[in-house]
């Protein structure tokens, strides 16, 4: 099988859709999942009702940056698929993706006050935010270089 860049983009888009579906499924049945976990997981059995509610709210609020992140990933991939790679619109999508990661860091930190192992989530989100910001900087430089090249006669 010949692997092309178009197939690679389609695979990435497929992963974005898969993640979106997973987030949607969690939004629909997450409350039931948490209720079952609260019965079976030792750490969660000791939680008070307000702690349980706050943790559930944190998990549901995390869906918001998740959807924003996935939407802008989709738009970024669509632009790249059309051949519009180094453009200001893509820099904007990357910026919003980094802001969504920052949102996930903040919400994750709140959740980690209730359940410390959850701290891995904001740490991972912060690292992803850093990587995305560096990629955004690279795109900005590339746009300047492309502009220079386009105006070279």
């Amino acid at each position: 099988m010949n692997w092309t860049s178009n197939k690679s983009i389609r695979l990435s888009k497929g992963c974005v859709v898969t993640f979106a579906v997973l987030v949607a499924v969690f939004d629909l049945i997450g409350w039931k999942l948490l209720r079952d976990l609260a019965v079976h997981v030792d750490t969660m059995r000791g939680w008070t009702r307000p702690e349980m509610i706050l943790f559930s709210v944190c998990l549901y609020v995390l869906s918001v940056p998740a959807y924003i992140l996935l939407l802008h990933m989709w738009k970024l991939l669509s632009n790249i698929q059309k051949g519009n790679v180094f453009e200001a619109a893509n820099v904007k999508h990357l910026r919003i993706i980094s802001y969504a990661c920052a949102g996930a860091v903040i919400v994750g930190l709140v959740g980690s006050f209730i359940c410390l192992p959850v701290l891995i989530l904001p740490i991972a989100a912060a690292f992803m935010m850093l990587i995305v910001r560096i990629i955004k900087n690279i795109f900005q430089q590339a746009i300047e270089m492309k502009s220079e090249l386009d105006l070279t006669i």
């Binding site: 502009s147 220079e148 105006l151 070279t152 006669i153």
Partner: protein, 71 residues
């Protein structure tokens, strides 16, 4: 501080239109317009060579350096 491209003057002297010059030096009319209107950021030697050949002139006839007035 800038480099001014005085293509219009040489084109008028040689009585050649923008479209014809663009075709002869194998660049698009849009790119020639960018050059004429001083919007270009750089020019390739190959393009400069082709322009000088068609307009029978030297690079200095079409490129002019203008410095900022020193205070």
């Amino acid at each position: 501080m800038e480099i001014i491209v005085n293509l219009d003057v040489m084109m008028a002297k040689r009585k050649i239109s923008a479209g014809e010059l663009a075709e002869r030096i194998d660049i698009t009319p849009a790119n020639l317009s960018i050059l004429k209107n001083n919007k270009a950021k750089a020019i390739r030697f190959s393009t400069l060579m082709a322009i000088c050949h068609e307009l029978e002139c030297q690079p200095g006839d079409i490129l002019e350096f203008r410095d900022d007035p020193k205070e």
